[in-house]
C-alpha cells in the first residue's frame, strides 16, 4: 500500500454548552491508506459520526467547531480550507453515505437527478451526459433497470435499494474516499450483506478508501482492513483488524468484543437442555392455522374487489409454559403481527389462538380478560413504548391500580420492588422517559410488563434499538427473570445471534408463514429451509476469517404516505 490518502492529526472538535465547553472529539489521529477500509466502532454517542462530519466540515450545528488538528488530503489541510474550496472536496474527493437513506435522499427529486446533480456541478456535464453517467452508476450499484429507475423517487424503493441509491449519489463524482456512516444499521441482515459486498466490490474496482462506521463488530471483522475504536471522542485503539480482534489492547475493546452475541462460548449462558424444560401437559399458548389479513394500502374506487395482504398466513405454533421461543424473519415477515394477534390487539381473520386453554376467537371476552392479566408485551423502541408524560413510578402505579390485584396502600412498595427486579434504582420512579437512556427505558418497559405478574411475555425486537453492550445487559436480565419467575417468553428478533443465545426453540417466518421451526442448536447447525440458511449465512461473524456472506433475497418495498393536515385559516375577515 502506498502512502495515506487521508491523514488526520489531533483532530479536536468542541462545542460550548451552557457556558462550558464540551470536547466531542479529543485529539484523534489516524491515517487512511489508498484502498483501505477502516472500521470505526464505538458505542452510541462516542463521536463516530462527528469525526466524519468534521472531515468534510459539515458539523451539525454552527456552535460546534473544529478547534485544532489537521486533516491532510493530498497535501491540503481540510481543517483550514475555505468553504468554497471545501465544496470542491465534498462529493468530488470525499463521498458520504449516511445511515438513514430515507431522510438523506431528497424525497421530491428523482433518484437519477440527485446523482446527476453532482455530476453536472462537479464535472460540468450537460444534462444529457450527466444522465447517461448517472444511469451507468445506477447500474454499477446494482439497479437492475437503471435507465427506467432513473426516474423513480426514493420512496418507490425498498430500504436496501435506497441505500444503494445513496451509495450511487456518493460515487457520482468519483471520490477517492468514501465515508459510510452506519450504512446498514437500518437494514435486514440479508440486505446488509448485499450492501457490504457492494462496498467491497467498489473498493476493489475503483481503489476507493472507505471509512466504515458501525457498531456491529461482526461487520468490521468481515469487511475492514483496520479497526479504530472510539469512546467519548477519544481514539482508544487503532490497528490492523486481526491484531485488534485477536489481542485487544484496551479494556473497553475487550468488553466490546465480549458483548458481541455471535460468540456463544463467551456469553455466559448456554442454551437450556431438554431436562431443564418444565414438563407440562397443556401448552400455554396454542396457535392453529392463524391468518391475519390487512386491506392493502392505496386501494382506490377504480380497483375492483378488495385487495388484502396476508401479514400472517396459516401459522400454527404451540408454546409450553416456561419455554423461551425465538421468532426470526426479515422485516415485514409478520412477526409483530403474529405477536399482536396473540395478544388480541389485532383482529384475527381466521384460525385459532388459545391462551391457557381459552380460545380467543370463540370466547373473546374471557380470553382477553385473561390475556390482559397474564400476558404482557415489551416493545422495540424503548422511548416510543412509554408515555412520555408519565413518570416511571406513575406509569407502574397505574398498571397496578388498573390490574387491581395490589391493594392501593401497597402500590408504592410494589413499584419499588418492580424497579429492583429490573435493576433500576428506585430513584428512577420520579423520572420521565425522556431523561432516561435507551437501556434504562427498556428496563422500565420490562418492569411494566412484569407489573401484571404475567405468565407470558412477548418481546418484540426489544433490544434491536440498543447498543451492543446494553443489548447484552438486557438479554442477561431476561435470562435471569425467566429462571426466577418461571416466565414463558416469546422473543422476536431479527438478530439471529441473540436468539441463538437466549432461546430454546426458534421459529423462522418468511412472508407470513413459518418456514422452519425447531430447537435452536439444531436449526442453526443444520437449517433445512433455504431461507433459514440464507438468514444464518448473512450474519456477520466476528471471526475475520469467515468470508463475507451473500444475501440473496428479493427485497420488498413499502411506500408510506405523508399525512396532509389542513387547519384553520390564520387571517381574519378582510
Amino acid at each position: 500500500m502506498s502512502g495515506p490518502v487521508l491523514s488526520i492529526r489531533d483532530l479536536t472538535v468542541k462545542v460550548p454548552i451552557d457556558g462550558e465547553t464540551r470536547t466531542l472529539i479529543d485529539a484523534v489521529s489516524f491515517d487512511l491508506a489508498r484502498g483501505e477500509i477502516l472500521g470505526l466502532v464505538g458505542e452510541s454517542g462516542s463521536g463516530k459520526s462527528m469525526i466524519c462530519r468534521a472531515l468534510v466540515k459539515l458539523l451539525p450545528s454552527p456552535a460546534i467547531a473544529i478547534t485544532g488538528g489537521t486533516v491532510l488530503l493530498d497535501g491540503k489541510d481540510l481543517a483550514t480550507l475555505s468553504e468554497d474550496a471545501m465544496r470542491a472536496v465534498r462529493g468530488a474527493e470525499i463521498g458520504m453515505i449516511f445511515q438513514n437513506p430515507t431522510s438523506h435522499l431528497d424525497p421530491v427529486m428523482r433518484i437519477g437527478d440527485q446523482i446527476a446533480e453532482g455530476i453536472r456541478y462537479h464535472q460540468g456535464f450537460d444534462p444529457r451526459e450527466a444522465r447517461a453517467a448517472a444511469v451507468e452508476i445506477l447500474g454499477q450499484v446494482g439497479f437492475p433497470d437503471p435507465a427506467r429507475q432513473y426516474d423513480n423517487y426514493p420512496h418507490e424503493f425498498s430500504g436496501g435499494m435506497r441505500q444503494r441509491a445513496m451509495i450511487a449519489v456518493a460515487l457520482s463524482c468519483n471520490p477517492k474516499i468514501l465515508i459510510a456512516d452506519e450504512p446498514t444499521t437500518a437494514l435486514d441482515v440479508t440486505i446488509q450483506a448485499q450492501i457490504l459486498r457492494l462496498l467491497m466490490d467498489l473498493r476493489d474496482k475503483r481503489g476507493l478508501s472507505i471509512i466504515l462506521i458501525t457498531h456491529d463488530l461482526g461487520i468490521v471483522a468481515q469487511t475492514c482492513d483496520s479497526i479504530a475504536v472510539l469512546r467519548n471522542g477519544q481514539l482508544l485503539e487503532h490497528g490492523p483488524k486481526r491484531r485488534v480482534l485477536a489481542e485487544p489492547q484496551h479494556a473497553y475493546t475487550v468488553s466490546l468484543l465480549k458483548s458481541h452475541p455471535s460468540m456463544p462460548e463467551e456469553s455466559g449462558g448456554t442454551p437450556l437442555t431438554p431436562a431443564a424444560l418444565p414438563i407440562a401437559l397443556q401448552p400455554l399458548l396454542e396457535i392453529d392455522d392463524l391468518v391475519v389479513r390487512f386491506p392493502a394500502p392505496g386501494l382506490g374506487i377504480f380497483k375492483k374487489g378488495k385487495t388484502e395482504i396476508a401479514a400472517v398466513n396459516g401459522v400454527s405454533l404451540r408454546i409450553m409454559p416456561g419455554e423461551t421461543v425465538g421468532i426470526v424473519g426479515e422485516s415485514g415477515s409478520g412477526k409483530s403481527t403474529l405477536a399482536r394477534a396473540i395478544l388480541g390487539l389485532t383482529p384475527l381473520t381466521s384460525g385459532h389462538v388459545s391462551f391457557a386453554g381459552s380460545d380467543l376467537a370463540q370466547q373473546r371476552r374471557q380470553t382477553l380478560a385473561k390475556l390482559r392479566t397474564e400476558a404482557a408485551m415489551v416493545f422495540q423502541d424503548p422511548y416510543n413504548a412509554l408515555n412520555p408524560r408519565l413518570t416511571i413510578g406513575d406509569m407502574l402505579a397505574e398498571v397496578l391500580k388498573v390490574q387491581g390485584n395490589t391493594p392501593a396502600a401497597r402500590i408504592p412498595e410494589r413499584v419499588g420492588e418492580l424497579l429492583d427486579l429490573v435493576e433500576l434504582d428506585r430513584a428512577f420512579a420520579t423520572r420521565r422517559p425522556r431523561s432516561l437512556s435507551g437501556g434504562q427505558c427498556q428496563r422500565a418497559g420490562i418492569a411494566r410488563a412484569l407489573a401484571v405478574d404475567p405468565k407470558l411475555i412477548i418481546a418484540d425486537e426489544c433490544v434491536a434499538a440498543l447498543d451492543v453492550t446494553i443489548q447484552a445487559q438486557i438479554i442477561d436480565l431476561f435470562r435471569d427473570l425467566k429462571t426466577r419467575m418461571n416466565l414463558t417468553l416469546l422473543f422476536i428478533a431479527h438478530d439471529l445471534a441473540i436468539v441463538r443465545n437466549l432461546c430454546d426453540r426458534v421459529v423462522v417466518m418468511y412472508r407470513g408463514e413459518i418456514v422452519e421451526e425447531g430447537r435452536c442448536d439444531a436449526v442453526f447447525a443444520n437449517p433445512r429451509h433455504a431461507y433459514t440458511a440464507a438468514l444464518i449465512g448473512a450474519i456477520p461473524d466476528i471471526d475475520p476469517d469467515k468470508p463475507l456472506p451473500r444475501g440473496d433475497l428479493p427485497p420488498r418495498s413499502e411506500p408510506k404516505a405523508a399525512p396532509v393536515v389542513r387547519g384553520q385559516p390564520l387571517i381574519s375577515m378582510q
Binding site: 465534498r90 431528497d106 446533480e117 453532482g118 420512496h155 382506490g300 377504480f302 381574519s572
Partner: protein, 312 residues
C-alpha cells in the same frame, strides 16, 4: 400517473358536501328573524302588501316545499330569483364574481411574491438580524385590523402620495390593476405574514434536515441546496395553509370590498343577509362553497405534484 387518480374520484365526494351546505344554508337563513317582504317594502309596509310579496316569492309555502323547489331549480341550473334585485340569482352572481375573484387572485399572488423571499431571507439568516426583523414584522402583520390598515393605506398612498386610486374597480385591465393594488396589499399584508411564518419555519427545519446535509456533502453550493432541495421540501404545509386561507378569503373579503368599494360578492352577500334576500344568500353560499372545495382540490393536486410520496 396513478398518483393523480384521485382527480377523477374526488369530485364525487364534493356532492355530499355541497348538499349538506345547501341544507344548512337553507335552514339557517330561514331561521333569521325578519322578513324579506318587509325589508323590501320599507317603513311604509302594510300587512296586505307584505302578504302579496310573500306569495309572489313562494315564501308562504311550507319550508320543505320551498327546499324542494330550491333543489328542483338547482337541477335545472337555476337558483331562484333575488327578492331585492328581482333578477335571477345566477345572473346576479355572474355580474359580481369577477371583482372578488380578481381581488383574491391578485392578493394571493402578491402574498406569495412577498412571502417567499421574506421567508427565504429569514430562514437563511436564521437567528440573525434579518430573521428577527422578518419575524417581528410578520408577527405584527397578522395583528392589524384590516379595515384600519386599509384606511391607512388609502390615506398614505392615495391622499398623501396620490399614486393609487382611493377606491373602486376599473374598467380596462390596467385600470383594474391600479385599483386593485391597495386592496390586494391590505389582504396581502396579513396573508403574507401568515405564509411567511409557516414557510420560514418549514425552511429552517429543511435547511437543517438530513437531505440538505446530504446535498452539501456532495459539494452542492448553498444556493442549489436551498432552491432545489430545501424550497421544494418546505412548500407542502404552506400550500395547504394557503389553500385554507384562499377558501377563507373567497368568502371573507367583505371588509376590504366595503372599504375600497369593490363591487364583489362579499358586499352582495352582506346586503343580501341584511335584506333577507334568501335566494341570493343561498346562491352566494353555494358559489363560495364550490370555490372553497375547488381550491382545496387544486391544493391537493399541487401537493401531489410537489411531493410524490403523497397519496390521496
Amino acid at each position: 400517473m396513478h398518483r393523480y387518480r384521485f382527480v377523477l374520484s374526488r369530485p364525487l365526494q364534493f356532492l355530499p358536501v355541497l348538499f349538506g351546505i345547501s341544507i344548512i344554508t337553507f335552514i339557517l337563513v330561514r331561521l333569521i328573524p325578519g322578513d324579506p317582504a318587509r325589508v323590501l317594502l320599507g317603513t311604509r309596509s302594510t300587512p296586505t302588501a307584505i302578504a302579496r310579496i310573500r306569495a309572489q316569492y313562494g315564501l308562504d309555502e311550507p319550508l320543505w316545499l320551498q327546499y324542494f323547489y330550491f333543489l328542483e331549480n338547482l337541477g335545472k341550473g337555476e337558483m331562484g330569483k333575488s327578492i331585492l334585485y328581482k333578477i335571477d340569482v345566477l345572473k346576479l352572481i355572474a355580474t359580481r364574481i369577477e371583482p372578488t375573484l380578481t381581488l383574491v387572485l391578485t392578493s394571493v399572488a402578491l402574498s406569495i411574491l412577498i412571502a417567499v423571499p421574506m421567508a427565504a431571507i429569514a430562514a437563511r439568516n436564521n437567528g440573525r438580524l434579518a430573521d428577527h426583523v422578518v419575524r417581528i414584522v410578520s408577527t405584527l402583520g397578522i395583528g392589524f385590523p384590516p379595515f384600519w390598515l386599509a384606511l391607512m393605506l388609502i390615506i398614505l398612498f392615495s391622499v398623501r402620495l396620490g399614486v393609487f386610486p382611493v377606491s373602486g374597480y376599473g374598467e380596462t385591465l390596467g385600470d383594474k390593476l391600479a385599483h386593485l393594488v391597495l386592496p390586494s396589499l391590505t389582504i396581502a399584508l396579513s396573508l403574507s405574514a401568515v405564509l411567511t411564518r409557516s414557510l420560514r419555519a418549514a425552511m429552517i427545519v429543511a435547511l437543517k434536515s438530513d437531505l440538505a446535509t446530504a446535498a452539501r456533502a456532495r459539494g452542492m453550493p448553498e444556493s442549489i441546496v436551498f432552491w432545489r432541495h430545501v424550497l421544494p421540501n418546505s412548500l407542502v404545509p404552506t400550500v395547504n395553509l394557503l389553500a385554507v386561507n384562499i377558501g377563507w378569503l373567497i368568502g371573507g373579503t367583505v371588509v376590504v370590498e366595503t372599504v375600497f368599494a369593490i363591487p364583489g360578492m362579499g358586499q352582495l352577500l352582506v346586503r343580501a343577509i341584511f335584506s333577507r334576500d334568501y335566494m341570493v344568500v343561498q346562491g352566494v353560499a353555494m358559489v363560495f362553497a364550490c370555490a372553497t372545495v375547488l381550491v382545496n382540490f387544486l391544493a391537493d393536486i399541487v401537493t401531489v405534484s410537489l411531493d410524490p410520496r403523497v397519496r390521496l
